[in-house]
């Protein structure tokens, strides 16, 4: 059953309440002082549309069934790091094509809708190349691809036939243009790539990579960057998986004289940085959304544990020290959600504030969610420190999300730039 047709059994709650389980009842309005604007929806609205609620609730139910804790654990040990079965089921829901235009085989939904789905992915700790495919495939092509390229690749991304990733960071571990040193040299009818990409998510299972490469050196690091669509099976490419705290699949990808045809340039030669930035800011908010979902679930598990765990003859959640931790957690989670929503909205609307909002969101989500998972561990005590118990899965993955696309310090610096302090 496709999510759009699904009659979810969850109560649809079109609001943005703060609660461990968000489907709690609605408090009625007081009624005397003016209530909601009659008959009209205000635009000052941090809640979701009906369709978004449907997507969110369906995704939650789907992922609880298809991506339970055991699946997450299995994929930690799996060589590929994802399940083809789940991949196909997600494709049946049209998720890989959610933001792909309808005429390219997708659902043509908006970026905000996708971000809402990603929050649910974070909640379920969905492993695998879904986000890399969206970022390195769909978003990269939508932002910068030619009509030809879109026609060629987007339908296969939408259908789940192709797996992509974005190959951007290198051993310099930088997110700015100066960090891009992988050389792409014009030769004959194409380019030859030499260099190393590092921390590339799920590269080992991809069909294609969008590779950010340097085609020109010079004073201005931004000028001279070109984006290439690279067939992952090309001669000269080798993958080495890294062992990470999140047990996700990040790779070293070595390029030795890898030939790429000219037709595979995304956008224009030397002019790729602007496209990259647009991809990056969408990817950054997606990472925030994943972190928000992750933190929300960590928080919910922790609150439930605080209610259930008895010490000194009472639930530990009746102790102020625990209560106040949970209060700080919900403040952090809610703050993270709304600063992320704002960034998603600004990016979707391409407002003037969009870059600033993205930097603020990632700086804050990176650290707020770290505080949340740290509290989650402390509330759990010894049991949370065991590998067997679920909560540590969230703790470990939070760190990957915190680091991806730049940590708090990185984005704070950019906020400071924008503030002109």
């Amino acid at each position: 059953m496709h999510w759009k047709e699904a009659a979810t059994n969850r109560e649809t709650v079109r609001n943005c309440r703060s609660a461990p389980e968000r489907s709690t009842g609605v408090v009625p309005a007081a009624g005397v002082i003016n209530g909601p604007a009659k008959g009209k929806e205000s635009n000052m609205d941090l809640g979701l549309s009906e369709e978004q609620e449907l997507l969110k609730n369906f995704a939650r139910d789907f992922l609880e069934k298809e991506c339970p804790e055991q699946h997450v654990r299995d994929m930690e040990e799996d060589e590929q790091g994802y399940s083809q079965d789940l991949w196909k089921k997600m494709a049946e829901q049209g998720w890989q094509g959610l933001i792909v235009p309808e005429d390219q085989g997708g659902s043509g939904m908006g970026y905000i809708d996708f971000v809402i789905l990603m929050e649910e992915f974070g909640r379920a700790l969905v492993p695998g190349p879904f986000i890399p495919t969206a970022v390195g495939g769909a978003i990269a092509l939508i932002e910068g691809g030619s009509d030809e390229q879109k026609k060629q690749y987007l339908p296969k991304i939408a259908s789940g036939e192709q797996i992509w990733t974005l190959a951007h960071t290198e051993p310099s571990a930088r997110f700015d243009a100066e960090g891009i040193e992988l050389e792409a040299k014009a030769e004959g009818d194409g380019f030859v790539l030499n260099g190393t990409k590092l921390f590339i998510r799920d590269a080992h299972v991809t069909d294609y990579m969008t590779v950010v490469a340097r085609t020109k050196k010079g004073k201005n690091a931004e000028a001279g960057i070109t984006l290439f669509i690279v067939d992952s099976k090309s001669d000269g490419i080798s993958f080495t998986q890294l062992k990470t705290i999140a047990s996700d699949r990040q790779c070293e990808v070595k390029f030795e004289n890898v030939k790429v045809p000219k037709a595979n340039v995304i956008g224009k030669v030397d002019k790729g940085w602007g496209i990259y930035e647009r991809i990056a800011r969408k990817a950054t908010v997606i990472e925030c959304a994943y972190l928000v979902g992750l933190a929300q679930k960590d928080f919910e598990i922790s609150v439930q544990y605080a209610k259930d765990r008895i010490q000194f003859g009472r639930p530990i959640g009746s102790f102020q020290a625990i209560q106040h931790k949970t209060a700080d957690m919900v403040t952090d989670v809610d703050g993270a959600r709304f600063i992320m929503y704002k960034a998603a909205w600004s990016v979707a609307e391409d407002t003037e504030d969009a870059d600033m909002d993205v930097h603020m969101a990632k700086a804050w989500c990176s650290e707020a969610t770290r505080r949340v998972v740290a509290h989650g561990q402390q509330i759990h005590g010894g049991i949370g420190f065991t590998k067997e118990y679920i909560i540590q899965l969230f703790f470990r993955r939070q760190k990957a999300g915190e680091l991806a696309w730049g940590d708090g310090d990185y984005h704070r610096e950019l906020v400071a730039d924008a503030l002109k302090v």
Binding site: N15, R17, P28, V32, I33, A37, M44, H324, W345, M360
Partner: protein
């Protein structure tokens, strides 16, 4: 999800802005170092401002038109509050307009509404709120002020504290115990008390920022006519809850913080220590991000209200976050100003003419007034997250 104004909101915002531009003189604007700050009403300029607001019906924008308010929907109230805060417009008689009037609308009789609401709108009656007592701060329900029936009156004896503006008030919404034998929440009633009545005395309290904002109020056999009982006898606790809920939901704080931070950024430019630029940059960036979060949390409260929901834990979260952020901003400002930060108001050497120093003191009260941070966290955990009481 939408963060931009609807056409109606945009039009209203433009209208408010234009009004403020035309009518709000610079010397009427409030200093913004105090997020506790509400108009004092003592300043004749504040009174004139109230009259100006009255010409547009904007004294009480949230009140229904039938009571003389502007009858604005929640979203336009929000726009109004946002713009008023941005312009640092004074909000004289804020307690009466924001808390007490609405409580009377919810719990008062038709006669009481007739008697009390118009005076609030015209600015003729100033109000104080008599809830806290020396022994009853966080634990408000333990209050000891007594009201005893005597003929057509209640006779009130006891003491209130932290009563903002009591020294200039005409009326007080007061909580008193009417049934000492009942469970603590069920023997309290709520009255309108004439501050000019015999037996009322007001003792000013100076706060640690050298400002007189609070008072102690003593009641010595003060007679209150029975018609001044608001709501049912012995149900006053629930009337009080209505007004307390209002205290925790405001965009005004977040906007004040935003403005304050902007001023701090500018005013401390000359005092920034050259050697530590990345530190300063990151500290200011952090405060800017946190202020943005505070604004988002306020938006969330408004967003819920616009859907007809009552924010409880969400309002506590917003209050808690904004008040602690206010202290961080004050600390940051102090830190950026270096040795100059310690200089008090009106010192020629002081940045922002001593407002940083003043703010650093005043902000101490932000995490206490309207429910301490500890109380907020317990409300969030118990009422919001369903954790059991200790």
């Amino acid at each position: 999800m939408d963060f931009k104004d609807s056409p109606e909101e945009a039009a209203f915002r433009a209208e408010v802005r234009e009004f403020l531009k035309q009518e709000l003189a610079d010397d009427v604007r409030q200093p913004d170092e105090s997020v506790l700050g509400v108009g004092t009403g003592e300043d004749p300029k504040d009174m004139e401002w109230l009259k100006k607001l009255a010409t547009r019906g904007w004294v009480a924008p949230a009140w229904p038109k039938e009571y003389g308010g502007a009858g604005l929907p929640v979203t336009l109230q929000f726009v109004y509050n946002e713009e008023m805060a941005r312009a640092r417009a004074p909000r004289p008689n804020f307690l009466a307009i924001g808390l007490i009037g609405p409580a009377i609308m919810v719990h008062g009789s038709e006669e009481q509404k007739q008697e009390h609401l118009s005076g609030i709108l015209s600015g003729d009656t100033y109000w104080a709120q008599g809830f806290s007592e020396p022994g009853s701060g966080s634990d408000l329900a333990s209050l000891q002020t007594r009201a005893v029936e005597d003929g057509d009156d209640f006779v009130i004896n006891g003491q209130k504290i932290w009563t903002s503006g009591a020294h200039r008030s005409d009326r007080m919404l007061v909580l008193a115990r009417t049934d000492p034998d009942a469970p603590r929440h069920k023997g309290i009633s709520c009255f309108v008390l004439d501050m000019h009545a015999p037996g009322v005395s007001v003792q000013p309290l100076t706060n640690m920022a050298d400002l007189h904002s609070f008072n102690e109020v003593f009641f010595d056999n003060v007679r209150v006519p029975k018609k001044n009982l608001i709501g049912e006898l012995n149900r006053g606790w629930y009337t009080a809850l209505t007004t307390l809920a209002f205290e925790r939901s405001s965009i005004v704080n977040a906007i004040s913080l935003q403005q304050l931070l902007g001023e701090v950024v500018e005013a401390t430019r000359p005092y920034r220590k050259g050697g530590a630029s990345a530190l300063v940059r990151h500290e200011l960036a952090d405060r800017a991000i946190e202020t943005h979060v505070a604004v988002m949390l306020s938006y969330r409260v408004a967003s819920l209200q616009a859907k007809g929901l009552i924010p409880i834990q969400e309002a506590s979260i917003t209050k808690l976050y904004a008040s602690e952020l206010g202290q961080r901003i004050a600390r940051t400002a102090m830190s950026l100003a270096g040795l100059y930060g310690q200089l008090g108001p009106d010192s020629p050497y002081a940045p922002l003419l001593g407002r940083i120093e003043r703010m650093y003191r005043i902000q101490v009260g932000a995490t206490l007034a309207g429910g301490t941070s500890e109380i907020q966290r317990s409300i969030i955990a118990q009422r919001g997250l369903g954790l059991p009481r200790g």
